[in-house]
Symmetry: C2
């Protein structure tokens, strides 16, 4: 499948692995990129810029395909040494950075000077437009799926994605609650050029989380918040805030197995094609199908 996102990042499939604290290590990022998606190393999971440089080098050993680094800009007094992290990213030959948290505006000159493409995670149309204005190449539109996240603008993807499509000139991917081909095709229908998938990748063979966590993700229904969160908190502490907790709460309802990353991505793309050409095209009347065939 070709979209503005596969073209922008030179990847085969429009699936970006979301940056996940304590999960986005080289093993997972490499596996996602090898499978044709865009793997993402979580920058701040590496405690120092030197450790990030080593993690990037490890990922280069695992894949020849493009992968990116997530850099989250925190609103904290003792901010991490971002310029040094960016230096590690640049010197590691990384050409794609996913920024999150505060606006990346201050660091855009350094990133763009290194030829790095920037995709910024936003939870509103207003922030997405701001990201476009400061030179981001794409945005990851995070429709917080009823996550209880503070902030007035949080909107579910069913509203946020069409609104983003109306306003943005740069391409965007849908983020939040994405789990399978149905999520992907729905996001594409609403104007996104791909999806950012996080939690679903935790339930893959390659994800560096304990089997107990993976099994809890599979066993849980969308209503089993406490069970899942207890299992995850006690083992990996991958999730930090109430908003993400609530999101995880729901997407687990759509996770039913622990495939390899490649199996997962191949399945999503095959299912997405079937969804489009069998189910959706099949719903069109005979007249519409005929006009499609001659098109």
């Amino acid at each position: 499948m070709k979209t503005a996102i596969t073209e922008l990042f030179n990847i085969e499939h429009p699936i970006i692995q979301g940056g996940m604290h304590y999960v986005g290590f080289a093993e997972l990022a490499g596996a996602v990129s090898n499978a044709g998606g865009l793997g993402i190393i979580t920058g701040l999971t590496q405690r120092t810029p030197e450790l990030l440089a080593k993690e990037i080098a490890r990922c280069h050993d695992l894949t020849d395909k493009p992968f990116g680094v997530n850099l989250t800009f925190l609103p904290s007094f003792s901010a991490p040494p971002y310029p040094e992290y960016i230096a590690a990213i640049r010197e590691g030959g990384i050409k794609i950075v996913e920024t999150a948290g505060r606006s990346p505006e201050q660091y855009m000159p350094a990133l763009k000077a290194a030829g790095i493409k920037v995709i910024h995670k936003c939870t509103s149309v207003r922030h997405s437009l701001k990201a476009e204005q400061i030179g981001c190449d794409a945005v990851s539109v995070d429709g917080f799926e009823c996550g209880g996240h503070p902030g007035e603008d949080d909107m579910p993807n069913m509203i946020l994605l069409p609104r983003a499509a109306e306003e943005l000139k740069i391409p965007f991917v849908a983020s939040g609650g994405m789990a399978d081909a149905r999520s992907l095709v729905a996001a594409l229908a609403m104007g996104a050029a791909g999806m950012n998938m996080g939690t679903r990748f935790m339930a893959t063979k390659e994800a560096p989380v304990h089997d107990n966590v993976k099994n809890a993700l599979v066993a849980a229904s969308e209503l089993d918040t406490r069970l899942v969160m207890r299992a995850i908190r006690n083992t990996e502490r991958v999730l930090k805030n109430a908003g993400v907790d609530r999101l995880l709460d729901m997407v687990v309802g759509l996770i039913h197995d622990i495939p390899t990353v490649k199996e997962l991505i191949d399945r999503i793309m095959a299912d997405a094609e079937r969804l489009i050409r069998n189910r959706l095209t099949g719903l069109l009347g005979a007249e519409s199908r005929a006009s499609l065939e001659v098109a």
Copy 2:
């Protein structure tokens, strides 16, 4: 477009007008049915069963096509005389009833004995399965789009629709936040067989609400809650609970004009076909498109 819902209700397009208090009069229901959707008269907006009988007769004068009646089962001491309302529905020749609120279980025998098809509005997979079990013909799955509705199960459509598709045998339509072709195709991709659209129909020429309300719906962005709600409360009092308020809040961002009902429905269906056969099919690789053409 043919789906399980167009077949079930013998309608041309898989678009159901949501029951709306003080909006779902014969004029709007008739216009929706004439345009090929399924118009719905809001039963309890008619203060007595006799008035409902008259409203049904008025709608029969406006359209020869199928239309339905919404019946909301309230948790109140002084419940409306539901058996009499059902008698008015039956004697009015109505063959489709949308139930909402409490479970319609108690009234299913009377409805089914009259050959009436029942579509029940549910906000969870669990309630949808219960509706299926008691004999409902379809459900309207209401993914409360971050509406702040009380109740543990409320989930956004991006999660709720795929989950419903996994569990239900009867067809379902997506409800909540539906506004245009993008909503429809996304819902179809996630397994729904159509959509239930409410607020969007308020901004049509035929909707029996004050022009100030329609203009407020068009002017407002998805962030202008208070403006819209003030305009609506002061003129029509169409919306009663905080949950619906919050939903309206968001869907207004996708309402940009006041077409006739027929213009709106024709546009949605034409856009939906284009979305499927141009945008979505166009994203597939040449190889996939070739296999589609020979299919």
